[in-house]
């Protein structure tokens, strides 16, 4: 399916959903004043029936101001807590205000809002839906230790979840009310914990996890590191994160 197919299918779905479920998009943002407004307006253009919450994770720039100006609700942490802390705050907000669905979207613009309706649809068969690369949409070349790390994670977690998960570290994910309540109280803060450990916990508690294929865009600012040393470090940390997730209660 191409992007235009998704977009043309949208308005009807939107009306179906508008009154039925309350949907919150959570955007954790740290010093993203340059890209945040674009991300918000793109979400609101594609999905006028959702609310957008920007969690300003202790930014030193004007991220919160830019988010408010773009029409989102912005909540500001007094200092930087990392993605895990920002997301737990987002889930607390979703729980307190009675949202039925919470969707995490990154502030750097790499997640295409056009896929959000598909994520929401997939929630009928799972409590947690991941927007995943390497599943048919888009083309990516990840090589070396970084690839090994991702393969190892997806192998172990797919087996645990009894379903194919190709991109376990993706931050593009949707969850239902049960998991909003869980994540509002419990959300890992360590590196990779916010993605890997939440998956392990979710599966162990008996919730179903699913994925839909997505194409991710190039980050608007900054490039992912390609140095072999950093890739090796990533592999080590991925191993450790998985190990911790598996042994922890």
């Amino acid at each position: 399916m191409t992007d235009t197919d998704i977009l043309s299918a949208r308005p009807r779905d939107a009306e179906d959903r508008a009154g039925a479920r309350r949907i919150l998009i959570i955007v954790p943002a740290w010093n993203e004043e340059g890209s945040i407004a674009g991300v918000i307006s793109e979400i609101e253009d594609a999905l006028p029936f959702v609310d957008v919450l920007v969690v300003d994770d202790g930014s030193t720039d004007e991220t919160a101001k830019a988010a408010r100006a773009a029409g989102a609700v912005a909540v500001t942490l007094p200092y930087n807590l990392g993605v895990g802390g920002a997301m737990r705050l987002g889930y607390k907000y979703a729980r307190d205000r009675g949202y039925d669905v919470a969707i995490q979207v990154d502030a750097d613009g790499q997640h295409d809002p056009a896929y959000i309706p598909k994520l929401i649809d997939a929630l009928s068969g799972a409590s947690l839906v991941i927007g995943a690369r390497f599943a048919g949409e888009g083309d990516y070349s990840v090589r070396g230790p970084r690839r090994w790390a991702m393969s190892m994670l997806s192998l172990v977690l797919s087996r645990m979840a009894r379903t194919k998960l190709t991109d376990t570290t993706s931050g593009f994910r949707a969850c239902d009310r049960d998991l909003i309540n869980l994540f509002a109280e419990w959300y890992p803060v360590e590196y990779l914990g916010d993605t890997v450990e939440t998956l392990v916990r979710t599966v162990r508690l008996g919730y179903r996890v699913g994925q839909i294929p997505v194409a991710m865009r190039k980050r608007t600012v900054g490039t992912p590191s390609q140095s072999p040393l950093k890739a090796m470090l990533y592999l080590t940390r991925a191993f450790f994160a998985l190990f911790l997730a598996l042994v922890r209660r």
């Binding site: 969690v55 609700v73 909540v75 500001t76 942490l77 007094p78 200092y79 807590l81 802390g85 737990r88 705050l89 607390k92 907000y93 307190d96 803060v189």
Partner: protein, 118 residues
Amino acid sequence: MNLTLLTGATALLFLGFIFELVRRRKLREKYAVLWLAVGVVVLALGLFPTALNRVAIAVGVANGVSLALFFGVMFLLLVCLHLSWEASRLEDETRVLAEEVALLRLRLDEQIEERSAP
């Protein structure tokens, strides 16, 4: 004899310092008890450095000083571990506070806005 003077005086200073910290409420009770007990042990060993010799020989250690050193290192390792644990716990607590502060600030801003624009 000179050695006993040195170790004994050091132990007394140590004990006095802990006592002063407790008196000024700089140490919580749980730590105060621990460190006072350590101070007493250090004082006893300072005044009688040979006291551990018998125990040392019984467990196969050459002399009391080596045994005291071994226990000392183990104790310090445990204290370090405990401090890491406390720091993790405190960080967890401050994270919750930071989240609560952020939510309260949002709610406050919303209420101010509602009142100024009815």
